[in-house]
Amino acid sequence: MEQRTDKNSYTIIFAIAMVLVVGVILAGLFGFTKPMITQNEEIEKQQNILYAMGINANEGTSANFVSTKEAPALFTENIKEQIVLEVKDGKILSQMTRQEYMDANNGQEPYLIDIKKQKTNAKNGMSRKLPLFVGEKDGKTFYIAPIRGKGLWDAIWGYVALDKDMVVQGAYFDHKGETPGLGANIKQRYFMDDFIGEHLVSESGVFKGITVAKGNADPKNEDKTDNEVDAIAGATITGDGVTAMIKKDLKLYLPYFETLKN
């Protein structure tokens, strides 16, 4: 005997009803949680930027952010300016201060600029907005730039703090879905700390970037001018992704740092 649940009409009605129910549940939940998620993401960006300039709660060998409660206040206190550069084909078209940018963009803070969207703009032949955060701590000035690229499975990104000579003062990396224990280790402190002190530009002023290198005969990373850090075993593609995003994205800031020298 054919069962009620085998009928085509029943199947179609069931499918439609199920999609509607699930859709309503998920849409409702998404709308309800969105403001909280957005706020969490903004605070995370602030924590990332602060981490790169050395304001963090690191303990032992583990990397820790300042707490989510303190982050907004510390961010306002330590980040003195958020510059927005508009670049095209390696040239700076215009430079905006935080206030100018916010006035022109409905009050959106420059640190919330969507780097992914700006990369797409650049790919389509449009100009690209580059945020650069100027932080001050203990009398030292840090220039913190966001970077973004591809790992093995998905996006990887980070923030690199530089001094005026483009020497790395701190770095933070994160990823969407790299393999735990392998590529995911780019956000481990031992890897991020290796970048501190590395030079991006050679003595003659040529932009070299930093290569995540295998077997570079410098596992303790004592040579800071070799433009290399030690790679993570078993994470070749993720390491290459880090190399590529540093080379590509930080090079864009080179014209700005040249203006600082004069």
């Binding site: 649940t5 069931f14 078993g234």
Partner: protein, 210 residues
Amino acid sequence: MGKDSRLILDPLADNNPITIQVLGICSALAITAELEASIVMSISVLFVLGIGNVVISLMRNIIPSKIRIIVQLIVVATLVIIVDLVLKAYAYELSKTLSVFVGLIITNCIIMGRFEAFALANSPYRSFLDGIGNALGYGVILIIVGFFRELLGSGTLLGFPVLGDPIEKTGLYAFGYENNGFMLLSPMALIVVGIIIWIQRNRNKALIED
């Protein structure tokens, strides 16, 4: 032994989803390089499989048989997205740790396997026990594999160095011991699972198939 308690105990050993049914291998290989990741994944699967089995069991008399696989997929995906959104809103740090696993949970064949083989034909209570049992059986293997891979591959457990410092040459490393980087790669997960299967079948010959 009661029938219900067998639902929990069987999958732990003689009907283990990984070593006997050989399901869920992809995630067992992918995320067991660290013990912590193994534990997080086990808890996530425990949660999704426990609740998912109950939901499917409650719906078992109204699900049209022609589209039951799609219905099962929707249930898993919905559960995972709900968990993901709630964590992102209320426990952001934890959600970042879990983000890697979301895709792996949805595609875990153990979950679909239990929906199809058990929850569609049994009461919600028994389905719940079956879900918990299978998730625990899956978790036990994940944790064993994660333990050996992290210990032999990185010399750490849950991120703490237990064998000394490989660069400063302290602890075991002072005697010339080296971490085996090969343990961190997926093939070694397969070999460790293989060794577990070997030991298990050697102890219980009834499990050997002709």
